[in-house]
Amino acid sequence: MNINRRLFMGTGAAATVALSAPMVRAAGHGKPRVVVVGGGAGGATAARYIAKDSEGAIDVTLIEPTRTYYTCFFSNLYLGGFKEFDDLGHTYGTLASAYGINVVHDWAVGVDRDARTVSLAGGASVPYDKLILSPGIDFVEGSVPGWDISVQNVMPHAFKAGSQTELLKAQVEAMPEGGLFVMIAPPNPYRCPPGPYERVSMIAHTLSKINPSAKILIADPKEKYSKQGLFEAAWQKYYPGMIERLGPDFGGGNVTVDPSAMTVDIDGEVEQAAVVNVIPAMKAGRIAELAGVTDGNWAPINPEDMSSKADPDIYVLGDAAAQGDMPKSGFAANSQAKVCANAVRGALTESRVFPAKYTNTCWSLVSENDGIKVGASYEPAEGKISSIEGFVSQTGEDAAVRQATYEESEGWYAGITADMFG
């Protein structure tokens, strides 16, 4: 068996004592155990890489409540009519069958850091040597007055993909002629910085075909947002007169909603809406808070290996992490997962550990065959993940460049989902 490095922390007689204690904990098992909570871009990737590269030397358990995972990335393309809903769905069968990962479909509801166990809603308790939390986001209660999770069937957020995405699309398609779609955009930081604006583009694309006199109003608490110039140029070009955005100067950050009346109050002006897409303020998925690794809304990590600043045996990936300069994106979570997997494997089996390097690219579709992107490389520096060099699409690029960017995003989707789910 591979002996955990931790066993060698003691010296002489102390080491002998140390050798016996973890053996009891691992009795009947013998292998180091990694538990991963959350089967998205961070968690599925980390589980797969640890299982694949350790070649059976590490037991990997992946805890994910959904049997079919619908990717948030590309879900806007479904709203725009460029993807079928089923195109977004992925299952965990290959992770179980080809990689030997113990896939548990349950909710993690607690972490006992002293006993090193994760408790599940179903009642089970799962022991770990290293715990990887990749729970994505939850919403900050009360961030949009009038809205809470009990009315998400009336005013959907659709920022966790699945039934919410289907609901939002159905609502858009059922809008009365000339009706108003209102988006309440979230404050920073949030999942997928260009996501709300790609969504507006895709909904505008759908409406321009089925309901061209409809209007889109964005109430936005942010002064500016990702790829703003590129989005605004696209809206002008493809959907002239359809989209209006109220930033904080025009009360876009002072919003309340009334789901029973389907109204939105923006700085005292009440709008009657056909569809209201409320994207509340976000925080780390609840299990990070329950594990006690959050500081404020997010979980701070060490940029060298994604380990929690609160506990060296817990790692936090993706949207839930406060890591520095990377945007909260599926690409970023997938990138962070590989650095983490390398470090966790090294800690448990003494395999080689290499320096952390991170990458991100966010593609957005603004109209048919018109893709834009922003990306950067990152490395640990100054105690955080720091941006090294970046790039962004330019306004006025010719159609061939934009089409190539869109095709690249399709390639990336195929690549990252293969990288996540095998």
């Binding site: 950067a376 690249e408 390639g411 990336w412 195929a414």
Partner: protein
């Protein structure tokens, strides 16, 4: 690799400058390359499948190194690849080429 590199330099003297010569002479650490390759496989599928992004498995090592070098020094332009290659040293490019050369299209790494 060194022998192969020298052969390559003889075969394509017009393409070899000092920087390329040093890169081609570097010994590739395939295990390091496997780790670094995980950055590539977010987009380039390990199966070699192509869906809008070119396959990069099973390449000749010399071709792989020179391609990455040209992205690095921006004689070949691509926004994402220029940024990704910019932070790779000769050791990293050699490691990646050594690893990807061990893969065949359709093999699952």
């Amino acid at each position: 690799m060194r022998a192969a590199a020298i052969l390559a330099l003889c075969a394509f003297p017009a393409f070899a400058n000092e920087a390329e010569e040093l890169l081609l002479a570097e010994t590739g650490d395939a295990e390091y390359g496997e780790y670094l390759a995980s950055e590539c496989t977010s987009c380039h599928q390990i199966s070699g499948a192509m869906d809008g992004i070119p396959p990069i498995v099973g390449w000749d090592e010399i071709a792989f190194r020179l391609t990455m070098h040209h992205f690095r020094n921006k004689t070949r332009e691509h926004q994402a690849m220029n940024v990704i290659a910019a932070r790779l040293g000769d050791e990293e490019i050699a490691a990646l080429s050594a690893y990807f050369a061990t893969l065949n299209p359709e093999d699952d790494g």
